[in-house]
Symmetry: C2
Subunit: 214 residues, 2 copies
Protein backbone atom coordinates (compact mmCIF):
# COMPACT_ATOMS: atom_id res chain seq x y z
CA UNK A 1 0.00 0.00 0.00
CA UNK A 2 2.22 2.78 -1.24
CA UNK A 3 0.63 6.03 -0.13
CA UNK A 4 -2.11 6.08 -2.71
CA UNK A 5 -3.95 4.43 -5.54
CA UNK A 6 -1.83 3.92 -8.61
CA UNK A 7 -4.33 5.78 -10.78
CA UNK A 8 -4.19 8.81 -8.52
CA UNK A 9 -0.42 9.00 -8.72
CA UNK A 10 -0.61 8.63 -12.47
CA UNK A 11 -3.16 11.42 -12.90
CA UNK A 12 -1.33 13.81 -10.63
CA UNK A 13 2.00 13.11 -12.30
CA UNK A 14 0.56 13.66 -15.76
CA UNK A 15 -1.04 16.91 -14.71
CA UNK A 16 2.10 18.23 -13.05
CA UNK A 17 4.25 17.35 -16.03
CA UNK A 18 1.78 18.91 -18.43
CA UNK A 19 1.74 22.18 -16.53
CA UNK A 20 5.51 22.43 -16.22
CA UNK A 21 5.90 21.67 -19.92
CA UNK A 22 3.24 24.18 -20.87
CA UNK A 23 4.57 27.16 -18.92
CA UNK A 24 7.65 27.83 -21.04
CA UNK A 25 5.52 27.46 -24.17
CA UNK A 26 2.51 29.66 -23.46
CA UNK A 27 3.31 31.47 -20.26
CA UNK A 28 1.53 30.59 -17.04
CA UNK A 29 -1.12 33.27 -17.25
CA UNK A 30 -2.30 32.23 -20.71
CA UNK A 31 -2.55 28.55 -19.87
CA UNK A 32 -6.11 27.29 -19.56
CA UNK A 33 -7.23 24.31 -17.57
CA UNK A 34 -8.34 22.76 -20.83
CA UNK A 35 -4.80 23.11 -22.18
CA UNK A 36 -3.48 21.12 -19.23
CA UNK A 37 -6.21 18.51 -19.68
CA UNK A 38 -5.45 18.08 -23.38
CA UNK A 39 -1.70 17.82 -22.80
CA UNK A 40 -2.05 15.43 -19.91
CA UNK A 41 -4.86 13.51 -21.59
CA UNK A 42 -6.89 13.53 -18.41
CA UNK A 43 -10.57 14.16 -17.89
CA UNK A 44 -11.90 17.44 -16.67
CA UNK A 45 -13.61 16.11 -13.56
CA UNK A 46 -10.47 14.20 -12.65
CA UNK A 47 -8.56 17.45 -12.48
CA UNK A 48 -11.07 19.09 -10.19
CA UNK A 49 -11.25 16.05 -7.97
CA UNK A 50 -7.55 16.59 -7.14
CA UNK A 51 -7.02 20.33 -7.33
CA UNK A 52 -9.14 23.36 -6.70
CA UNK A 53 -7.73 25.26 -9.67
CA UNK A 54 -4.59 25.93 -11.70
CA UNK A 55 -2.75 27.63 -8.86
CA UNK A 56 -3.45 24.72 -6.58
CA UNK A 57 -1.79 22.34 -9.01
CA UNK A 58 1.27 24.58 -9.21
CA UNK A 59 1.55 24.92 -5.46
CA UNK A 60 1.21 21.18 -4.91
CA UNK A 61 4.37 20.66 -6.93
CA UNK A 62 6.06 23.20 -4.73
CA UNK A 63 5.93 20.97 -1.69
CA UNK A 64 8.14 18.39 -3.36
CA UNK A 65 10.57 21.09 -4.36
CA UNK A 66 10.66 22.50 -0.88
CA UNK A 67 11.55 19.24 0.82
CA UNK A 68 14.06 18.39 -1.89
CA UNK A 69 15.85 21.69 -1.53
CA UNK A 70 15.69 21.53 2.24
CA UNK A 71 17.46 18.19 2.12
CA UNK A 72 20.28 19.60 0.01
CA UNK A 73 20.65 22.53 2.34
CA UNK A 74 20.69 20.49 5.52
CA UNK A 75 23.61 18.60 4.05
CA UNK A 76 25.54 21.84 4.46
CA UNK A 77 25.34 22.51 8.16
CA UNK A 78 26.11 19.31 10.06
CA UNK A 79 29.39 17.76 8.91
CA UNK A 80 32.56 19.53 7.93
CA UNK A 81 31.74 21.02 4.54
CA UNK A 82 33.54 19.16 1.76
CA UNK A 83 32.88 22.08 -0.56
CA UNK A 84 32.73 25.47 1.10
CA UNK A 85 29.46 26.41 -0.48
CA UNK A 86 26.92 29.01 0.54
CA UNK A 87 23.16 28.45 0.63
CA UNK A 88 22.84 30.35 -2.60
CA UNK A 89 25.40 28.09 -4.22
CA UNK A 90 23.28 25.12 -3.23
CA UNK A 91 20.24 26.75 -4.74
CA UNK A 92 22.02 27.39 -8.02
CA UNK A 93 23.15 23.78 -8.12
CA UNK A 94 19.65 22.61 -7.29
CA UNK A 95 18.21 24.74 -10.06
CA UNK A 96 20.72 23.32 -12.50
CA UNK A 97 19.74 19.78 -11.63
CA UNK A 98 16.04 20.60 -12.08
CA UNK A 99 16.35 22.86 -15.08
CA UNK A 100 12.91 22.14 -16.52
CA UNK A 101 11.18 22.88 -13.27
CA UNK A 102 13.04 26.11 -12.61
CA UNK A 103 12.49 27.23 -16.17
CA UNK A 104 8.80 27.08 -15.34
CA UNK A 105 9.14 28.71 -11.93
CA UNK A 106 11.64 31.53 -12.47
CA UNK A 107 11.58 31.95 -16.22
CA UNK A 108 10.16 34.94 -18.01
CA UNK A 109 6.93 33.04 -18.59
CA UNK A 110 6.39 31.98 -15.00
CA UNK A 111 3.54 33.51 -13.06
CA UNK A 112 3.12 35.67 -10.00
CA UNK A 113 2.24 32.69 -7.84
CA UNK A 114 5.44 30.78 -8.49
CA UNK A 115 7.65 33.82 -8.10
CA UNK A 116 6.10 34.81 -4.82
CA UNK A 117 6.35 31.36 -3.30
CA UNK A 118 9.90 30.85 -4.40
CA UNK A 119 10.75 34.26 -3.02
CA UNK A 120 9.23 33.40 0.32
CA UNK A 121 11.02 30.07 0.37
CA UNK A 122 14.45 31.58 -0.24
CA UNK A 123 13.73 34.59 1.91
CA UNK A 124 12.94 32.49 4.98
CA UNK A 125 16.02 30.48 4.29
CA UNK A 126 18.42 33.39 4.05
CA UNK A 127 16.89 35.23 6.98
CA UNK A 128 17.60 32.28 9.23
CA UNK A 129 21.08 32.07 7.80
CA UNK A 130 21.84 35.75 8.28
CA UNK A 131 20.28 36.43 11.65
CA UNK A 132 22.90 34.78 13.88
CA UNK A 133 25.76 36.44 12.03
CA UNK A 134 24.22 39.89 12.25
CA UNK A 135 23.25 39.48 15.89
CA UNK A 136 26.58 38.18 17.14
CA UNK A 137 28.34 40.97 15.28
CA UNK A 138 26.12 43.46 17.07
CA UNK A 139 25.43 45.20 13.79
CA UNK A 140 22.63 47.70 13.39
CA UNK A 141 21.84 46.21 10.01
CA UNK A 142 18.12 45.24 9.96
CA UNK A 143 17.87 41.53 9.29
CA UNK A 144 14.75 41.84 7.20
CA UNK A 145 16.26 44.39 4.87
CA UNK A 146 19.40 42.34 4.40
CA UNK A 147 17.32 39.27 3.70
CA UNK A 148 15.27 41.19 1.15
CA UNK A 149 18.43 42.44 -0.50
CA UNK A 150 20.22 39.11 -0.82
CA UNK A 151 17.11 37.09 -1.63
CA UNK A 152 16.13 39.31 -4.50
CA UNK A 153 19.71 39.56 -5.72
CA UNK A 154 20.04 35.78 -5.81
CA UNK A 155 16.66 35.22 -7.42
CA UNK A 156 17.33 38.00 -9.90
CA UNK A 157 20.52 36.30 -10.99
CA UNK A 158 18.68 32.99 -11.06
CA UNK A 159 15.95 34.38 -13.30
CA UNK A 160 18.50 35.91 -15.64
CA UNK A 161 20.33 32.61 -15.71
CA UNK A 162 17.23 30.59 -16.51
CA UNK A 163 16.34 32.89 -19.37
CA UNK A 164 19.89 32.46 -20.69
CA UNK A 165 19.34 28.70 -20.81
CA UNK A 166 21.79 28.19 -17.94
CA UNK A 167 24.69 29.42 -20.02
CA UNK A 168 27.50 29.92 -17.52
CA UNK A 169 27.76 26.88 -15.29
CA UNK A 170 26.32 26.92 -11.78
CA UNK A 171 29.79 27.25 -10.25
CA UNK A 172 30.61 30.33 -12.30
CA UNK A 173 27.31 31.93 -11.37
CA UNK A 174 27.81 31.19 -7.69
CA UNK A 175 31.29 32.64 -7.94
CA UNK A 176 30.01 35.94 -9.31
CA UNK A 177 27.31 36.07 -6.67
CA UNK A 178 29.89 35.63 -3.94
CA UNK A 179 32.15 38.32 -5.37
CA UNK A 180 29.31 40.83 -5.41
CA UNK A 181 27.54 39.88 -2.22
CA UNK A 182 30.21 38.92 0.31
CA UNK A 183 32.17 42.19 0.68
CA UNK A 184 29.07 44.22 1.42
CA UNK A 185 27.92 41.92 4.17
CA UNK A 186 31.38 41.69 5.72
CA UNK A 187 31.68 45.46 5.69
CA UNK A 188 28.25 45.90 7.24
CA UNK A 189 29.08 43.41 9.96
CA UNK A 190 32.42 45.04 10.68
CA UNK A 191 30.84 48.46 11.29
CA UNK A 192 28.46 47.82 14.18
CA UNK A 193 27.05 51.22 15.14
CA UNK A 194 28.69 53.90 13.04
CA UNK A 195 26.55 56.79 11.84
CA UNK A 196 24.52 55.15 9.11
CA UNK A 197 23.54 58.10 6.90
CA UNK A 198 27.10 59.37 6.54
CA UNK A 199 28.23 56.32 4.65
CA UNK A 200 26.27 57.39 1.62
CA UNK A 201 27.46 60.94 1.79
CA UNK A 202 30.90 60.27 0.39
CA UNK A 203 31.23 62.22 -2.80
CA UNK A 204 30.73 60.30 -5.99
CA UNK A 205 32.15 63.30 -7.85
CA UNK A 206 30.77 63.90 -11.32
CA UNK A 207 29.10 61.22 -13.33
CA UNK A 208 32.59 60.11 -14.36
CA UNK A 209 33.81 59.81 -10.80
CA UNK A 210 33.83 56.89 -8.44
CA UNK A 211 31.31 54.24 -9.41
CA UNK A 212 28.13 53.92 -7.44
CA UNK A 213 26.50 50.52 -7.60
CA UNK A 214 23.25 52.01 -8.74
Amino acid sequence: MPGQDRRVRRSQRLLREALVALIPEKGYDRITVQDILDRADVGRSTFYSHYRDKDDLLLAGFDDLRTDLKRDLDALSPGVPPHPTSPTGVIFAHAYRHRDLYKALCGRRGGTVAQRHLHRLVSDLLRDHLRPHIETAGSDLPVDVAAAFYTSAALGMLTWWVDQDFRPGPAALASIYQRLAAPGLLAALAAPASTPPSSIEKHTGTSHGRPAPG
Copy 2:
Protein backbone atom coordinates in the same frame (compact mmCIF):
# COMPACT_ATOMS: atom_id res chain seq x y z
CA MET B 1 -5.98 73.32 -27.73
CA PRO B 2 -4.42 71.29 -25.00
CA GLY B 3 -3.44 67.90 -26.38
CA GLN B 4 -6.87 66.36 -26.28
CA ASP B 5 -10.55 66.68 -25.59
CA ARG B 6 -11.29 67.45 -21.98
CA ARG B 7 -13.63 64.46 -21.75
CA VAL B 8 -10.92 62.11 -22.90
CA ARG B 9 -8.49 63.35 -20.28
CA ARG B 10 -11.18 63.03 -17.66
CA SER B 11 -12.08 59.46 -18.60
CA GLN B 12 -8.48 58.33 -18.74
CA ARG B 13 -7.64 59.97 -15.44
CA LEU B 14 -10.64 58.41 -13.72
CA LEU B 15 -9.75 54.98 -15.07
CA ARG B 16 -6.09 55.23 -14.07
CA GLU B 17 -6.98 56.41 -10.59
CA ALA B 18 -9.55 53.68 -10.17
CA LEU B 19 -7.06 50.97 -11.12
CA VAL B 20 -4.30 52.26 -8.87
CA ALA B 21 -6.73 52.53 -5.99
CA LEU B 22 -8.13 49.07 -6.63
CA ILE B 23 -4.84 47.17 -6.76
CA PRO B 24 -3.91 47.45 -3.07
CA GLU B 25 -7.47 46.47 -2.17
CA LYS B 26 -8.17 43.44 -4.32
CA GLY B 27 -4.86 42.57 -5.94
CA TYR B 28 -4.31 43.18 -9.62
CA ASP B 29 -5.17 39.67 -10.78
CA ARG B 30 -8.58 39.64 -9.13
CA ILE B 31 -9.62 43.03 -10.45
CA THR B 32 -12.23 42.83 -13.18
CA VAL B 33 -12.84 45.42 -15.84
CA GLN B 34 -16.28 45.92 -14.37
CA ASP B 35 -14.70 46.76 -11.01
CA ILE B 36 -12.69 49.51 -12.65
CA LEU B 37 -15.77 50.79 -14.47
CA ASP B 38 -17.83 50.90 -11.29
CA ARG B 39 -15.11 52.66 -9.32
CA ALA B 40 -14.39 55.15 -12.07
CA ASP B 41 -18.08 55.56 -12.93
CA VAL B 42 -17.32 55.24 -16.61
CA GLY B 43 -19.16 53.38 -19.33
CA ARG B 44 -17.99 50.04 -20.62
CA SER B 45 -17.56 51.06 -24.23
CA THR B 46 -15.66 54.14 -23.16
CA PHE B 47 -13.04 51.95 -21.54
CA TYR B 48 -12.57 49.83 -24.63
CA SER B 49 -12.40 52.87 -26.86
CA HIS B 50 -9.25 53.94 -25.00
CA TYR B 51 -7.58 50.70 -23.94
CA ARG B 52 -7.39 47.22 -25.34
CA ASP B 53 -7.67 45.56 -21.92
CA LYS B 54 -6.69 45.86 -18.28
CA ASP B 55 -2.98 45.45 -18.95
CA ASP B 56 -3.09 48.18 -21.55
CA LEU B 57 -4.48 50.60 -18.99
CA LEU B 58 -1.73 49.72 -16.55
CA LEU B 59 1.01 50.10 -19.11
CA ALA B 60 -0.31 53.45 -20.29
CA GLY B 61 0.25 54.83 -16.82
CA PHE B 62 3.77 53.50 -17.01
CA ASP B 63 4.78 55.94 -19.71
CA ASP B 64 4.14 58.88 -17.43
CA LEU B 65 6.15 57.22 -14.70
CA ARG B 66 9.03 56.50 -17.03
CA THR B 67 9.41 60.07 -18.23
CA ASP B 68 8.99 61.40 -14.71
CA LEU B 69 11.68 59.14 -13.34
CA LYS B 70 13.96 59.83 -16.28
CA ARG B 71 13.74 63.53 -15.55
CA ASP B 72 14.79 63.01 -11.96
CA LEU B 73 17.68 60.84 -13.02
CA ASP B 74 18.97 63.20 -15.69
CA ALA B 75 19.24 65.82 -12.99
CA LEU B 76 22.01 63.66 -11.57
CA SER B 77 24.53 63.52 -14.38
CA PRO B 78 25.05 66.99 -15.84
CA GLY B 79 25.99 69.51 -13.16
CA VAL B 80 28.11 68.98 -10.12
CA PRO B 81 25.88 66.85 -7.89
CA PRO B 82 24.56 68.88 -4.98
CA HIS B 83 23.71 65.66 -3.21
CA PRO B 84 25.98 62.74 -3.98
CA THR B 85 23.18 60.34 -4.70
CA SER B 86 23.17 57.13 -6.68
CA PRO B 87 20.54 56.18 -9.25
CA THR B 88 18.99 53.84 -6.73
CA GLY B 89 18.75 56.64 -4.21
CA VAL B 90 16.84 58.66 -6.77
CA ILE B 91 14.49 55.75 -7.36
CA PHE B 92 13.80 55.38 -3.65
CA ALA B 93 13.08 59.08 -3.38
CA HIS B 94 10.84 58.92 -6.43
CA ALA B 95 8.95 55.99 -4.97
CA TYR B 96 8.48 57.88 -1.73
CA ARG B 97 7.02 60.87 -3.54
CA HIS B 98 4.61 58.62 -5.46
CA ARG B 99 3.75 56.22 -2.67
CA ASP B 100 0.27 55.35 -3.90
CA LEU B 101 1.51 54.49 -7.37
CA TYR B 102 4.41 52.37 -6.18
CA LYS B 103 2.20 50.60 -3.70
CA ALA B 104 0.26 49.42 -6.71
CA LEU B 105 3.30 48.59 -8.81
CA CYS B 106 5.69 46.90 -6.37
CA GLY B 107 3.37 45.93 -3.56
CA ARG B 108 2.44 42.40 -2.67
CA ARG B 109 -0.79 42.78 -4.61
CA GLY B 110 0.75 44.08 -7.80
CA GLY B 111 0.71 41.91 -10.87
CA THR B 112 3.25 40.23 -13.11
CA VAL B 113 2.92 42.92 -15.73
CA ALA B 114 3.86 45.78 -13.47
CA GLN B 115 6.75 43.93 -11.88
CA ARG B 116 8.24 42.92 -15.21
CA HIS B 117 8.04 46.39 -16.70
CA LEU B 118 9.46 48.07 -13.65
CA HIS B 119 12.24 45.51 -13.63
CA ARG B 120 13.05 46.20 -17.25
CA LEU B 121 12.98 49.93 -16.64
CA VAL B 122 15.43 49.80 -13.75
CA SER B 123 17.51 47.10 -15.38
CA ASP B 124 18.15 49.16 -18.49
CA LEU B 125 18.95 52.10 -16.29
CA LEU B 126 21.51 50.34 -14.14
CA ARG B 127 23.09 48.51 -17.05
CA ASP B 128 23.87 51.81 -18.73
CA HIS B 129 25.16 53.14 -15.44
CA LEU B 130 27.40 50.16 -14.76
CA ARG B 131 28.82 49.44 -18.21
CA PRO B 132 31.31 52.30 -18.44
CA HIS B 133 32.67 51.62 -14.97
CA ILE B 134 33.15 47.93 -15.60
CA GLU B 135 34.67 48.46 -19.01
CA THR B 136 37.17 51.14 -18.00
CA ALA B 137 38.21 49.00 -15.08
CA GLY B 138 38.88 46.15 -17.46
CA SER B 139 36.97 43.82 -15.18
CA ASP B 140 35.86 40.38 -16.30
CA LEU B 141 32.56 40.92 -14.47
CA PRO B 142 29.72 40.35 -16.98
CA VAL B 143 27.68 43.53 -17.20
CA ASP B 144 24.40 41.71 -17.59
CA VAL B 145 24.88 39.63 -14.48
CA ALA B 146 25.87 42.63 -12.42
CA ALA B 147 22.84 44.52 -13.70
CA ALA B 148 20.60 41.59 -12.81
CA PHE B 149 22.11 41.43 -9.34
CA TYR B 150 21.78 45.10 -8.46
CA THR B 151 18.43 45.62 -10.16
CA SER B 152 16.80 42.78 -8.29
CA ALA B 153 18.47 43.76 -5.04
CA ALA B 154 17.18 47.31 -5.34
CA LEU B 155 13.68 46.27 -6.38
CA GLY B 156 13.61 43.64 -3.68
CA MET B 157 14.34 46.24 -1.05
CA LEU B 158 11.80 48.54 -2.68
CA THR B 159 9.10 45.88 -2.54
CA TRP B 160 9.87 45.12 1.07
CA TRP B 161 9.76 48.82 1.81
CA VAL B 162 6.41 49.34 0.11
CA ASP B 163 4.87 46.47 2.02
CA GLN B 164 6.19 48.03 5.24
CA ASP B 165 4.30 51.22 4.41
CA PHE B 166 7.58 53.07 3.78
CA ARG B 167 8.62 52.76 7.39
CA PRO B 168 12.28 53.76 7.38
CA GLY B 169 12.69 56.97 5.42
CA PRO B 170 14.02 56.91 1.86
CA ALA B 171 17.42 58.19 2.99
CA ALA B 172 17.83 55.40 5.52
CA LEU B 173 16.90 52.81 2.95
CA ALA B 174 19.29 54.23 0.38
CA SER B 175 21.99 54.21 3.02
CA ILE B 176 21.56 50.52 3.73
CA TYR B 177 21.53 49.75 0.05
CA GLN B 178 24.81 51.56 -0.41
CA ARG B 179 26.41 49.78 2.52
CA LEU B 180 25.50 46.39 1.10
CA ALA B 181 26.01 47.06 -2.58
CA ALA B 182 29.02 49.33 -2.91
CA PRO B 183 31.82 47.18 -1.42
CA GLY B 184 31.04 44.25 -3.69
CA LEU B 185 31.17 46.29 -6.84
CA LEU B 186 34.35 48.07 -5.81
CA ALA B 187 36.02 44.75 -5.03
CA ALA B 188 34.91 43.27 -8.33
CA LEU B 189 36.24 46.27 -10.22
CA ALA B 190 39.53 46.19 -8.35
CA ALA B 191 40.23 42.56 -9.35
CA PRO B 192 40.29 42.74 -13.14
CA ALA B 193 41.35 39.31 -14.32
CA SER B 194 42.13 37.14 -11.34
CA THR B 195 41.18 33.47 -11.51
CA PRO B 196 37.42 33.74 -11.04
CA PRO B 197 36.53 30.35 -9.57
CA SER B 198 39.15 30.54 -6.82
CA SER B 199 37.51 33.48 -5.15
CA ILE B 200 34.69 31.29 -3.96
CA GLU B 201 36.96 28.55 -2.77
CA LYS B 202 38.07 30.26 0.39
CA HIS B 203 37.00 28.13 3.25
CA THR B 204 33.92 29.17 5.11
CA GLY B 205 34.80 26.66 7.78
CA THR B 206 31.90 25.01 9.57
CA SER B 207 28.45 26.49 9.68
CA HIS B 208 29.62 28.60 12.61
CA GLY B 209 32.58 30.01 10.75
CA ARG B 210 32.87 33.09 8.58
CA PRO B 211 29.50 34.31 7.36
CA ALA B 212 28.51 33.67 3.78
CA PRO B 213 25.99 36.14 2.37
CA GLY B 214 23.66 33.37 1.36
